[in-house]
Symmetry: C2
Subunit: 243 residues, 2 copies
């Protein structure tokens, strides 16, 4: 793990780093000493580790809950190089969409492909970050919607350190099997008028989670229109399960 | 409106009353003076105005939010006399269930019948209670699940004083038309394994609400097993919309 830069702003310390060539960012409370809960965040498709919705949530986890938050660029996103295989699949998918294939099925297949790479990357990130004095070994949470859900479901299923997860805007097509291995509390976000994920697919993914405590929050609006009050709910959810 | 008794306990003043022969109960903060938000609560089938889940919620609305709360016995429930017509329908329904008719359809029909009586009763209750010095004319909310949803949907649709409602454990069969007239914010509770209300019916009722702000919370468990943390959410919802 190599630190590239460090800045501080309004109570939040931000450290950019690379870990085995993967660019990441770690946010902690400015004066943090000792172990604390850690939330790993997975960004959306076409976005990156410092996308506005990631930043806004990370700031609140740090300032209001005292947590550490870490995010990485997903392969072929943010500061990471293109991946030839992904480009090839994307081009193929474009042709398949034009030929009438279902968008949700193609998205799911793509996310399953990327997850094979991100699960071990994210696990290595937990290993590294939890060795830092100002993060330490505390409870771990995961937050990710859309692509962050498609990659998050197999990650949460594989990683026993994760004790609670916020997921959503994703369907069961790629990840029903992994979802059945998840037993930790989950808050699951659905956009009622999601133009990318069919409602029935969202419901099927929620249904597949083996967690005894899982709660689905559905709100009107399109894929990108999660209402602001859901962030308040996310804070309370993580506060309840990670503190 | 005739007051029958008054007691106080742990910060909550409880007044039993009758209004045109209907038995009701009003809870307010012990030292309440002046206008405040008022929540009308509708109890479940076979229950009554002081059922444990009504009492527990009312206490928290009063002590944590400073609200007034009012509840009435539904016809043929609690301290109210039997209603011959309802008994007849119940007997008929028993025979129809045995003949293989769908439970949810029969429940919906019964609730629509009862709502024709309760909507005007509840409106008269708001009129009377808001004339009291320690309640006054403030924003009004409604809380009701199961039978309280079946009766609540037509009430909220008909009553412009209601500015926010918590509903749930109910389906669209009886009340889709009334739901389409509801435009205030709604928090809607679904039990994922509800043995009485088919999931698809719950979803259809949520879908039918015309509210631009509506949020569906689904949790695992049977009809009567709403998790405790949903009450915290209800408090925040009413706090956001009625204060």
């Amino acid at each position: 793990m190599r630190f590239l830069s460090e800045t501080s702003s309004v109570g939040v310390r931000e450290q950019l780093f690379t870990l085995h060539e993967i660019p990441g960012v770690l946010w902690t409370p400015e004066a943090a000493v000792g172990a604390r809960p850690l939330v790993l965040m997975g960004h959306g498709g076409g976005q990156h580790k410092k996308a506005p919705d990631i930043l806004a949530r990370a700031r609140r986890f740090v300032t209001e809950l005292g947590f550490a938050v870490v995010a990485l660029d997903v392969p072929a996103h943010g500061d990471r190089p293109k991946v030839e295989e992904y480009d090839r699949v994307a081009t193929e998918n474009q042709a398949r969409i034009e030929a009438g294939e279902e968008l949700a099925v193609l998205i799911a297949g793509f996310q399953a492909l990327v997850a094979r790479q991100t699960v071990p990357e994210w696990q290595a990130t937990l290993d590294a970050v939890q060795q830092l004095d100002h993060v330490g070994v505390g409870p771990v949470g995961y937050w990710g919607v859309s692509l962050g859900c498609g990659l998050g479901v197999p990650f949460v299923a594989a990683e026993p350190r994760v004790r609670a997860a916020v997921l959503g805007l994703g369907g069961a097509l790629a990840s029903a099997e992994a979802a059945a291995a998840i037993t930790v509390p989950v808050e699951f976000l659905v956009q009622w008028d999601d133009e990318r994920v069919p409602r029935v697919q969202s419901m099927a993914l929620f249904d597949a989670l083996a967690s005894t405590e899982k709660t689905l929050h559905a709100n009107p609006g399109k894929h990108g229109e999660i209402p602001a009050f859901e962030l308040d709910s996310t804070l309370r959810f993580f506060s309840r399960h990670l503190r």
